[in-house]
């Protein structure tokens, strides 16, 4: 079964076609890779799925529902969340608050409830607190919960961003270059984390990455993008031996 389906997805910025007519399916419970040279339109696809950009043509279908051009916060409610290439945490807030804010969708008390400190407010706040703490525990961040997010080491900032995404209890997690700027050791750890998280939270993961070790190591399916168009699709083995992919990455032998 496919959790996400892109059909004829196109994004034009003026005369430039950043993403052109891409068809793509992501299987439920898989880890799928999205690779391609710089400027191929990978992040643009993420922005189109999450509603940050408006789609020019084509459709985004999630769990058989058309979610094209929904607002980002609606996409989050539907069950898709993401991380960013350049980490976007709530920098001046604590680790705990970062996760807590993402847990908010599980509470429903109104402004009046909170102003009057109604029982509903107290009950749900307690619930949120528990959820946030539990998640920090799972992600191994509880000993740093009071730290300001910006003061975390880089690797942990990535981890916090993933934790924040998981707080939304998504079905589909989009990771945009999670290993960017990491050394091989940290990349290895990240790979284990992604695999672990997927099992624990029963997620489907779509991942953009340039570290080929990581992509080839954990992805079951890979799509290659070049100049906004789909170049190839298949298992890691197929992709590694696809002449078109080798050409796009390394050029043609003179």
């Amino acid at each position: 079964m496919n959790i996400l389906e892109l059909s004829g997805l196109t994004k034009k910025f003026g005369g430039l076609t950043a993403v052109g007519n891409v068809d793509f399916k992501v299987k439920k419970d898989s880890i799928t890779g999205l690779i391609g040279p710089n400027g191929a339109g990978k992040t643009t696809i993420f922005n189109l799925i999450t509603g940050v950009y408006k789609v020019s043509e084509g459709k985004v279908i999630f769990c058989n529902k058309n979610i094209t051009n929904k607002e980002p916060y609606q996409i989050a409610e539907i069950g898709i969340t993401r991380t960013f290439q350049n980490i976007r945490l709530f920098k001046r807030l604590s680790v705990y608050e970062n996760v807590l804010i993402a847990c908010h969708k599980n509470a429903s008390y109104s402004i009046l409830d909170s102003i009057l400190m109604m029982p509903k407010y107290k009950r749900e706040e307690k619930q949120l607190k528990l959820q946030a703490n539990e998640l920090l525990e799972i992600m191994g961040l509880s000993d740093r919960r009071e730290l300001i997010a910006n003061n975390l080491p880089y690797g942990l900032q990535r981890r916090l961003e993933i934790a924040r995404a998981l707080a939304l209890k998504p079905q589909l997690l989009l990771l945009d270059e999670p290993a960017a700027g990491m050394n091989p050791d940290e990349t290895e750890q990240l790979m284990l984390l992604i695999d672990d998280v997927r099992k624990k939270f029963q997620l489907t993961v779509l991942i953009i990455e340039h570290h080929m070790d990581l992509v080839m190591g954990i992805c079951e399916e890979i799509m290659v993008l070049n100049f906004g168009c789909k170049l190839a699709e298949g298992t890691p083995y197929d992709i590694q031996n696809n002449p078109k992919v080798i050409e796009a990455y390394l050029g043609v032998e003179g």
Binding site: Y73, F90, E97, S114, E125, A165
Partner: protein
Amino acid sequence: MNTYIEGILILAGINLMAVLGLSLLTGFTGLFSFGHAGFMAIGGYTSAMLTVKFHWPFIPALLVGGLVAALFSAIIGKVTLNLKGDYFCIATLGFGEAIRLILDNVQYFGGARGWPGIPNYTNLWNVLGINLVAVLVLANLIRSRHGRNMIAIREEELASQIVGINVFKHKITSLMISASYAGIAGGLMAHYMTFLQPKMFSLVKSTELTIIVIFGGLGSISGSVLGALVLTALPEVLRSFSQWRLVCYGLAVIIIMISRPEGLLGGYELTPSSMKKLYNRLRLKKQAGKQGLEGGDIQ
């Protein structure tokens, strides 16, 4: 109590009311406004109209004044809150000036000549009571999911959308609550001065409110309280310097902004628990210092 000091406290309280509202918008939601004097004007004129022409009691008139200001802000917000960054700020500036110019020409309210004869209902006690309620409401709001969503928007708008926060809805909520505070402040002012004139709500007033919020520290309710008290009292304390008064005022603001760019209490709150924490930390530091000296193991 000395009526002079009482007067200063009432003025500080009126300013504080408007500043609390602006603090929510600017300090906690990250939206700058230079039109809050406009919301004060709307609240002031509305409540004065209700007490003078319709003989309403004071408090309901104040609340309706706040409500009308909130309604106006909802309309303004609807059309301008999609603007990014500075553009919203410019739009509010335009709004504030427009309200003032419109009031200049409404003869029903006395136009530019002003409107005398508003009953004197505002006193120290009701100003104090209203501010107390306002602080409590704001503090509770900030510590709820709604308040934290607003803070998240201030920190990182795109990320807050991605974690499911409806940015537009929260911005407009913040603006409406903020405007209702300013509206109530306007009503208090009308019934303290017993006189209203559009000139009282010029850009200078909006700027003064913004200066107080920044001076007190963005993202701090206690900072806003402190800022409102200090910056309202300061020109009065400096009255003996006569013509140098405003220069001193400006210098004081500049010196604070240079030495503490985050404002007096930027991001911090003075609450019983935070004071205790600070006290404990200072004590620990002292102890650590002593031990270091006695042990002599500092490298």
